[in-house]
Amino acid sequence: MAIDTRTETPKVSVSDYLRKNIREYGLLLALVVIMLLFQFLTGGVLFKPVNITNLVLQNSFIIIMALGMLLIIVAGHIDLSVGSIVAFIGGISAIMLVKWGWHFSLVVPLCLIIGAAMGAAQGYWVAYQKIPSFIVTLAGMLVFRGLTYVVLEGRPIGPFPKEFQLLSTGFIPDFLSFTDPATSVVKNYVALLAVLALVGWAIYSGLKNRRLNEQHGTPNEPFVFFAGQMAVISVVAVFLGFQLSTYRGLPNVLVVMGVLIAFYTFVTTRSTIGRRIYAMGGNEKAAKLSGINTERLTFYTFVNMGVLAALAGMIIAARLNSATPKAGVGFELDVIAACFIGGASASGGVGRIIGAVIGAFIMGVMNNGMSIMGIGIDYQQLIKGLVLLAAVFFDVYNKNKAV
């Protein structure tokens, strides 16, 4: 039974490779299929520039929280409190901005710090007192929701100052207006050029990485897959970028989100902190005995989640232009579902940032598409639930087949 191959075999056959990585490609494919499906079902409304902009605005906060949640889930935990943190931060930001008239440049960092403190308050119990995160964050969910009602005294507060609203409703201004926006198709050249530059950079760095891998004998994914994936991503990105440029350009939120996605992808794949989180989630005792301070790592994972939830809270408040005690109810479930659809494992140690992002987009496109079609919230929930179950079943099925 022992497999005694001494030789490195970096070249793998295409079908073998597909079988092993079907999850990752499958996910991307599923997103594309769902997009095309709803484009068809909604009679072409889905990809209208204004709707794409809406799609980004509606889902940005879910994606931003999914970045932190993925780390929590990979570390072997869960955070149910993010919806309540969203509401609480929305509430106090409204009090500081509207009631007390503080400037947003003071309020935004302050809210991020408060979010960190809320994450820390939960992380402490999970990391140092070893209370299961499910229980701690369930308590947090209730406590923070209660606090929101207390600080808002049960009433919504609004509207927010204009500059604060720009956080979620603003667009990157077009300083390259080659043509008159009133008459030309492309109304925002910055958006178009930014997307083209990013796609170019992605292809260039992907190729460069493959070349370096070859030089060092590290196995590459088969070129067919690399090319296919790049082609799909490029076509979709350029198309979406073009659509956005014919409307109002790049939403500020999209830029924030993009930077965060890139940052967390880097953290999870290339940094020692990321590697340690994966090791801890895979086997906490072994990680600890390897000299990793698992308590501190867990603690900071929750602090990080708090900061991202606070950012999401401000984006939502700015978008709704009012802080209400009911904001963010049930968001934790959307965020967690995005991570699991994206292939994270409930037992920890497994999951990818890009998976969580695609998972969130799958949920987002379905929400948006079904709303346009006029499907009621009841059936939307039902369908989303089934999609979650199907995605996880697909994982389990693949894993069993591989053994």
Partner: protein, 511 residues
């Protein structure tokens, strides 16, 4: 004695890409204890899984004859119905249920789904008496030791009408007393006419109980030895397993011992859970450069606890005492500090404490020293791959590549990955806790060779082992521990199985 109860003919079982069993034939006589031996991966467990129906009929080639009839088992319950009961290496007991509940789990004495507790307890009493357990049937599994748990598993087997009992490494995690008790029980059952198959790595035990020994190698049955018609030595069995005569089970070495590296003085530790109980008493020892030092002792003597309390206070509390490296006091109060001081601890439980099983070889190799492959928290993947590939070839880890998940490696190769991880922290003293537990003879030899190389490079090795021949074969000096104390220090010349046991026994009398 000569009636054949079980015959497996021409069994071939193929997994994708691997032929796990190749035309294996195997005969068991009624009323005997039949030992099945072979290196890890030789196909022992696979053969037993074919027999018990874990791999259903049709997924393998060949025939199974039981009681002179061809049998085709498609589930485990099919084979259990005929009285073929298998007890796996990993015990299948529910820790928070009682002994009685575990014994009748899935087989409850009940009418219309209502459990008859008086009958259950009475029947459990009977079964426990048969296996020589005196605990109450209502005792929780978690409250009894591994040795007793093993006996509960046997009682559970007896609760079904068992005709052929299969034990997969029953004594792997037992101390000598418990192992002896278990083996005596098997011999008692033999007198009553029961047939058993025992899979084991412990050749001395096999010699003690077996009537016949079948040796598997690389998925084929090599030979069957009859212990009554010929004298079977351990070396005879080993040469059958590895396919060559093993002149020496331990590679030769020529120790060059230098200055004292590690010195531990007056090490006192209280029990992790029973916080008012002192567990280690004034433990003192030294390890010198180039020296392999052993710690012998029975299970529970405090060997692992000494190592773990020393390694960043990973075990115990109220720890006091001094630790010196190169004669200078060092702080080992946290694991990073202990690593920084030049210590490494290779755990006895590599699956739970040593490896992140779903991570690949490369990630496990660098886990304890990520700073060694990163700049400012940024991992240099190519450097990491170089490091892992380097250790993979140096320690001869057999795998497809450094990207193979460690869960798919054999025990010996997993152990080498754990060793790689610690070697990459560049320690001065390595504490090896049962470094060859559960790995096969060939891989053991390789591990010993690695130990010798490390000593030759001037590192100090502290080796904890329950296998006395292993300590005697590899160590320059052996400390003997008993009941939390070091009770003897024996030089290579003084050390023998007898002198170690004598030291343990004598220290027991003093208290």
């Amino acid at each position: 004695m000569d009636k054949i109860i079980l015959e497996m003919r021409g069994i071939t079982k193929t997994f994708p890409g691997v032929k796990a069993l190749d035309n294996v034939s195997f005969k068991v006589r009624e009323g005997e204890i039949h030992a099945l031996v072979g290196e890890n991966g030789a196909g022992k467990s696979t053969l037993m899984k074919v027999l018990s129906g874990v791999y259903p009929a049709g997924t393998y080639e060949g025939e199974i004859h039981f009681d002179n009839e061809v049998r085709r088992f498609s589930t485990i319950s099919d084979s259990e119905e005929l009285g073929i009961i298998i007890i796996h290496q990993e015990l299948a007991l529910v820790p928070l249920l009682s002994i009685a509940e575990n014994i009748f789990l899935g087989n409850e004495i009940a009418s219309n789904g209502v459990i008859n507790w008086p009958a259950t307890f009475a029947r459990t009493q009977e079964l426990l008496a048969k296996v020589g357990l005196k605990d109450a049937p209502s005792t929780l599994i978690t409250d009894i030791g591994v040795g007793k748990q093993q006996l509960v598993e046997i009682a559970k087997a007896l609760s079904k009408k068992v005709r052929l009992l299969i034990l997969d490494e029953p004594t792997a995690s037992l101390n000598e007393t418990d192992s002896d008790a278990l083996l005596n029980l098997l011999m008692e059952f033999r007198k009553q006419g029961m047939t058993s198959i025992i899979i084991s790595h412990k050749l001395n035990e096999i010699r003690k109980v077996a009537d016949q020994i079948t040796i598997l190698r690389d998925g084929g049955a090599v030979e069957t030895l009859d212990c009554h018609t010929q004298e079977i030595t351990e070396d005879r069995i080993i040469s059958g397993m590895v396919g060559r005569a093993m002149e020496d089970r331990y590679p030769p070495r020529d120790p060059k011992i230098g200055e004292t590296l590690l010195e531990v003085k007056n090490w006192n530790v209280f029990h992790q859970n029973h916080r008012d109980r002192q567990f280690l008493h004034d433990v003192n020892f030294t390890v010198r450069a180039g020296e392999v030092v052993g710690i012998a002792g029975l299970m529970g003597a405090g060997r692992t606890e000494t190592a773990m309390s020393l390694f960043g206070k990973s075990w115990g509390h109220k720890i006091s005492g001094q630790v010196f490296m190169h004669g200078k006091p060092v702080d080992v109060s946290t694991i990073p500090k202990a690593i920084g001081a030049g210590l490494a601890y290779v755990t006895e439980d590599r699956k739970h404490l040593g490896l992140v099983l779903n991570n690949n070889i490369m990630h496990n190799t660098t886990l304890a020293n990520l700073d060694g492959v990163s700049n400012n928290g940024f991992i240099d993947e190519r450097k990491e791959a170089r490091v892992a590939a380097d250790y993979r070839s140096k320690l001869r880890i057999r795998s497809h590549s450094i990207y193979q998940e460690t869960v798919n490696l054999s025990g010996g190769n997993q152990q080498k990955v754990v060793l790689s991880k610690w070697l990459f922290t560049d320690p001065q003293v390595l504490i090896l806790d049962e470094p060859t537990r559960g790995i096969d003879v060939g891989a053991k030899f390789e591990i010993y060779t690695i130990i010798n190389q490390l000593a030759a490079e001037g590192k100090g090795i502290l080796m904890i082992s329950s296998e006395m021949p292993e300590l005697l074969g590899t160590c320059d000096r052996i400390y003997v521990m008993n009941e939390g104390r070091i009770v003897a220090e024996l030089s290579k010349g003084e050390a023998s199985q007898e002198s170690i046991m004598r030291a343990i026994m004598r220290s027991g009398e003093k208290h």
